[in-house]
Symmetry: D2
Subunit: 135 residues, 4 copies
């Protein structure tokens, strides 16, 4: 399991005064990068040097409570399924100050050669890093 | 049904060179505002004057093809269910240049008093505007 | 001179309820792309096919009045100086509903090979397109 | 002087593959909030409880080197002038991995009642916090 704290930035809210719903997905993407920390150079190296990316093929979220500027989103993430080319991630987001459940999210990302945008079997080091968080 | 064309902006891509997945949800939110066009002053007036907002309680997307800078996302949206306080929206996103399916999305938004963040039954003018797009 | 209308998006505001100051620069970048409309395929083709970009080397803005969700930013842009590799742009942003001056901005962008990130003399078609807006 | 490290996020780049110039201003805004750390509750409390904000009236940047995904922007900020209602900030941004100068920025922000959007003399605790960083 990975844990990631993301303070709400001044510009993350919308005209209703709460964090814009689309940004929750970006928050989870930040957290997702932690799953790759055991790969040498991490997610950054995969993207920029090895040209291996993980585009989303599915993302869903149930929003339970709003968060606003001043809050910290606490994200816990696990890998729930690991196929040959696809990884299923589950995120639980709570509000750090009181533990209130903010959102639950399920994402499916596919290992991809980003030069050709074609699927790729997980390289063994990537698989090993993800397996550590498999539940 | 509403239709909304959204050109990909220069800054909408990510380090993999394609539109960042979280932005698809923002694109659909732009389209969603069109459902409220029959309300006087539109979505803007609801938010800024009447203080009625529509936070998402659920959002899901299946991503079928990437889009990049230079593409135009064409979004068709319908209302699939209309309860007392919740509206279900369905969006179909295609790539304008070739009609390729980019994503299908289902969002559920709840009518809310944004001063108190409590649920609100749809005002009759809002309901009437949404019903025009109900399928 | 180019003119570009940009409605404030729902997510463009900040926790103070007005358009976040950094976004004004993005609004002007959208407008800036219009200077290249006489180039075949426009700014998009320059970036994605010819790999010619125009990173900013200077950007400054004086902010005169805030804008909020519901406003439309009207941007008028001119080219104020055209060197061998650098172009100076000036933008005047007003609020469409009442003509109030919102901001004046001066940007300097340099013609660049984005594969090597080295300066490039303006290709003749790019220069011709920019010269049309030179004052 | 405040120091703030900001890793480039996956979605901060543009279609030219480098951090979008408008985002540098947002990076500096994150850093700017540190100037208010001696105020009880910090910048967050000023905005959300006391309804005191600091809209920019001027922002300028000279960009010296691009940064990309994988880089960390290191920002050093000082207060260069403190008037009755306006504060002048200077930021120096370097690339953490090699110390290369990325940008120098000068911002002027005005103390403002964000309910009425009118100027406000700095409250004494705000002035005291800013004075610590005055050079």
């Amino acid at each position: 399991m990975i844990t990631h704290d993301r303070p709400v930035h001044f510009e993350d809210v919308d005209a209703a005064g709460i964090v814009f719903f689309a940004r929750f997905f970006a928050y989870c993407h930040d957290a997702m990068e932690r799953f790759f920390d055991d790969v040498e150079g991490g997610y950054v190296n995969l993207i920029t040097v090895r040209k291996i990316g993980f585009p989303a093929v599915h993302a869903s979220s149930d929003f339970k409570a709003p968060i606003a500027y001043g809050d910290v989103a606490r994200i816990e993430g696990t890998v729930t399924k690991l196929g040959n080319t696809a990884a299923h991630f589950r995120f639980l987001m709570t509000r750090a100050r009181d533990g209130a459940l903010v959102a639950t999210m399920n994402h499916v990302h596919v290992c991809t050669d980003i030069r050709t945008m074609t699927k790729l079997a997980f390289p063994s080091d990537v698989r090993a890093s993800l397996e550590k968080h498999l539940v």
